[in-house]
């Protein structure tokens, strides 16, 4: 991170502390694994902050880089893309496609000067409710450190 970016990030973090910043996180989950993992977190009564909004898709392979970019443009402070573990995809190769697209997205975000920690890819199976709740908590902490999304007003 260069000086200008780090200065913006520090300003954002300061603003966030002053205004009681409550990050808004968008989570894309696949129907077969990670949504079931999120469901398990709920049925197991594992607590995680209510800042995450979940969008269910049939497969992580359905998630295009434009979905994440549009979410950031429209005010999400962080975005998580989740799917089945590699090799476990219900549609065989969907999560490999998701990973490939995610790498393209990372390259684009680096060029655009967006902090890399604002987007994350994670594999969560239907039995990993605890991992899901820990992921949300960790993401919220990270985004809190980064501060509000600078594209919110543009």
């Amino acid at each position: 991170m260069n000086e200008a970016e780090s200065a913006t990030s520090t300003e954002n973090a300061e603003k966030a502390l002053g205004a009681g910043f409550d990050p808004r996180i968008l989570v894309f989950t696949c129907n077969w694994c990670s949504y079931a993992g999120a469901d398990l977190a709920g049925t197991s009564r594992l607590q995680y902050p209510p800042n995450a909004r979940i969008i269910r898709t049939m497969c992580s392979g359905r998630i295009e880089p434009t979905f994440v970019l549009e979410a950031l443009r429209d005010g999400a402070d962080g975005v998580i893309v989740t799917g089945c573990h590699p090799g476990d995809c219900h549609y065989v190769k969907g999560n490999f496609r998701a990973e490939k697209r995610f790498n393209f997205l990372k390259t684009a975000l680096k060029q655009l000067g967006v902090e890399e920690d604002r987007v994350r890819l994670a594999w969560i199976s239907a039995g990993e409710g605890e991992k899901f709740s820990l992921l949300i908590k960790d993401m919220i902490d990270k985004v809190r450190e980064l501060g509000p999304n600078p594209f919110k007003s543009t």
Partner: protein, 113 residues
């Protein structure tokens, strides 16, 4: 910081770039089972295409926002150097996305179609 990072509508430019046929085509290619050297070459080409497409979308946004512009004016407003700009304008012209609409100070004036 790259010229894209300074552009105010950078996210819009990136969204449009990801919708472009060229980028969708390269993203859709399968490299599963390919040799490591081939995968590396694919990644490099794909990354170059991604950056090119984002820059081209940035140029189109600028032409739509400010109306017809010369290469010099585009270079000043986007921060791209003349060599890069020439390559991108030729590609956009070939694609039919921009057209010349006259001359100003011995330079062509380009307009987004």
């Amino acid at each position: 910081m790259s010229e894209l990072a300074k552009y105010p509508r950078k996210l819009d430019a990136a969204v449009e770039a990801f919708k472009s046929e060229r980028l969708r085509w390269i993203m859709g290619l399968s490299v599963m089972g390919a040799k490591a050297s081939e995968t590396e070459r694919y990644n490099q080409i794909a990354q170059d295409i991604l950056i090119d497409e984002m820059r081209r979308e940035m140029l189109l946004f600028e032409l739509r926002k400010r109306g017809p512009l010369t290469m010099k004016e585009l270079s000043e407003s986007t921060g791209l150097d003349r060599k890069q700009l020439l390559d991108h304008m030729l590609a956009l012209r070939k694609r039919g996305a921009v057209t010349e609409v006259g001359e100003k100070e011995n330079e062509y004036v380009y307009k987004a179609v």
